[in-house]
Subunit: 214 residues, 2 copies
Amino acid sequence: MSAGEPEPEQGPEPGTVRPGGRTARVRAAVLQAAGDVLAEQGFAHLDLGDVARRAQVGRTTVYRRWGTVTALVADLLQDMAEQSLPRTETGSLLGDLRANARLVQRTLTDARQGPLFKAVIAAATWDARTAEALHRFYDTRVAEWAPCVRQAADRGEVPEDTDAHEVIRAVSAPLYYRLLTSDVPLDRAAADRAAEAAAAAARAGAYVRHHKRT
Amino acid sequence: MSAGEPEPEQGPEPGTVRPGGRTARVRAAVLQAAGDVLAEQGFAHLDLGDVARRAQVGRTTVYRRWGTVTALVADLLQDMAEQSLPRTETGSLLGDLRANARLVQRTLTDARQGPLFKAVIAAATWDARTAEALHRFYDTRVAEWAPCVRQAADRGEVPEDTDAHEVIRAVSAPLYYRLLTSDVPLDRAAADRAAEAAAAAARAGAYVRHHKRT
């Protein structure tokens, strides 16, 4: 079967093939191709037929399984969240946040991942479904790292009722903000400063949960 | 002269009319229309002819003066930087940063300004000239507020060699990050927390300038 040609409508039902089988290989190839297009050309140039050709997968498969560009990007984001590295545990809040900040900084300065994230963030500003998928991606990543703040609270490094998710978000925020609003390089010093600032603010109680005012 | 029709090539040279004269009124109308299109439809829908029609200004004037959509957006950003409110001085770092955070929060949640900023940030991810203009906008706004950190250093609230620009950027970062990566409302509590976190981190020395390692 040549790339770009519709493939025969046959084979197992979606979801009935074990992970690592043909279905998983097709998904991996298609998501790789979709990520390549996003990184190289942006969301506006994403086209299911083009992705099928790049992935050397039948167009019918891509249209049947994903249907729309938006659904494809949502699946890509879900896959990225699942594939993300587990958090590093260093034994101190500053060490853990620094590991998180450096991971974010490496991702955003990666030649493929950086443009890919910019493209998806841009698309999320005008496409509600892409925004939902992007929000889920960050929720997943933040939840993966939040336990390091709760461990720090157990060790007495930060107040007991510190909002762990807000601390993790505070580490990423200055890195994304620099990426999107300045031409200052996003270097490791920026990552370490982001971690240090978040840790200092957390220690000072800036992320203690807001209690309802009476 | 009807809107949308080329106007006669006459009148004073650009730049020779005093501010407040016809040139300034045309610019104000065109930038207002450009901002409206950005806020309502996004950068991709921005068209000089459409802007001229909305602004009730001759197409020729718009093409001659701005030439490209990118140049028009750059001029809009320059005007926004010039029109921005001067900083508030409260006498304490936390008070000043809170005023800044609330200003940013009000801007980003404004029905017109919020979508406008999202549209320009998105366009800056793929258009280098828009990115340059956006960076200049933020540099201008950060420079306007940076003196409050230097005043805090003079009062002994933060270390002497605190990077004032980094502190101001730290206030905005979590607000933009929340706007772009989550569906959690950007409320005043978020603004106050951003100010409190940046002030606490600054006091702890997290924004002290990096000295060259030897």
